[in-house]
Amino acid sequence: MHKTVNQKAWLFVVPVVGLVAFNALIPLMTVVNYSVQETFGDNVFFWEGVKWFEQVLNSDRFHDSFLRQLAFTGMILVIEVPLGIVVALSMPRKGPWVSVCLVLMALPLLIPWNVVGAMWNIFALPDTGLLGRMINGLGIEYNFTQQPVAAWLTTVLMDVWHWTSLVVLLAYAGLCSIPDAYYQAAKIDGASSWAVFWRIQLPKLKRVLTIAILLRFMDSFMIYTEPFVLTGGGPGNTTTFLSIDLVKIALGQFDLGPAAAMSLIYFLIVLLLCWVFYTLMMRGEEQ
């Protein structure tokens, strides 16, 4: 059978192409141009080749912030995913408390990122904040503005508070979608609650957990606002993650060349992760 070929539909894509060109391609091209040049302002540029890339790739500063970023992302995944599953398992599936739990869980997700940072800053201040005073009152010396461990703990705790809900809601949706027949069969077989979790619930949650893990991975890998408002990357550089370091180089030191090279490397890493995310999701769809 002969199919009618009509290419007019491409015209509808033109506005989107224009928009993407304006907000993504042109800035990206500018960054590529900056990454191979040096400027001291006044729109005068000097060719530097791949010098900035070499400098960034071999700089301890970049390695440190990259490792800090990986450590932070690893930590929050290790905490948020199991915690999210446990909370989702303990939430009611029927009755009036369902809505209450869901609203409570969704609340942290509705708060803007800078507000979360400011909230936790005030909450954890050692002399005036509720958390800070309480911990110090227990006899434990705690000051997130001066102690690196305390700064990390507070940053991780803040992220867990803000984003565990996302894992909870996804896992809860996954749990609700398991048909009752599975539980009835398990009951007939006399399966323990651990066996039900391990053999039924966890395999059925695989897909939503993949999405949850990858979403949290991506999001935490690009985190900026919350730690910036909370600690400003300090004390010293102990909580300076990739994005904070990038802003420091680009806007603090006004080193546009190295900052452009670093943002391109950062962009490539994020792009690679996006591709892995997309590929895994598509594989899940097929299965």
Partner: protein, 88 residues
């Protein structure tokens, strides 16, 4: 935008790749996605993307390990691209 010749050539190369892919598809359609050695279902466009992204990382790795000049990185990238189009 502070254009330079090398960056212009770089973007022109990507644009030419896209045009060449379009012409190739028109001339000899690639058909449905195929399953390659990585177990991924990929079309020609996917393979171009994997080639470009992988090449970027090859160049970065070369620059980090050996510095300039980067002819070795270029050679590996071309071999990698051919391998991706053939087997992935």
């Amino acid at each position: 935008m502070a254009w330079t010749w090398p960056t212009a050539v770089f973007f022109l190369f990507i644009l030419l790749c896209l045009i060449a892919m379009g012409v190739w598809e028109r001339w000899r359609p690639g058909g449905d996605p195929r399953r390659g050695v990585l177990g991924l279902d990929t079309t020609r466009g996917d393979r171009l993307f994997i080639t470009l992204l992988g090449s970027a990382f090859i160049f970065l790795a070369w620059l980090w390990a050996f510095g300039t000049p980067m002819w070795g990185g270029l050679a590996i990238s071309i071999a990698y691209g051919v391998a991706v189009f053939k087997w992935v």
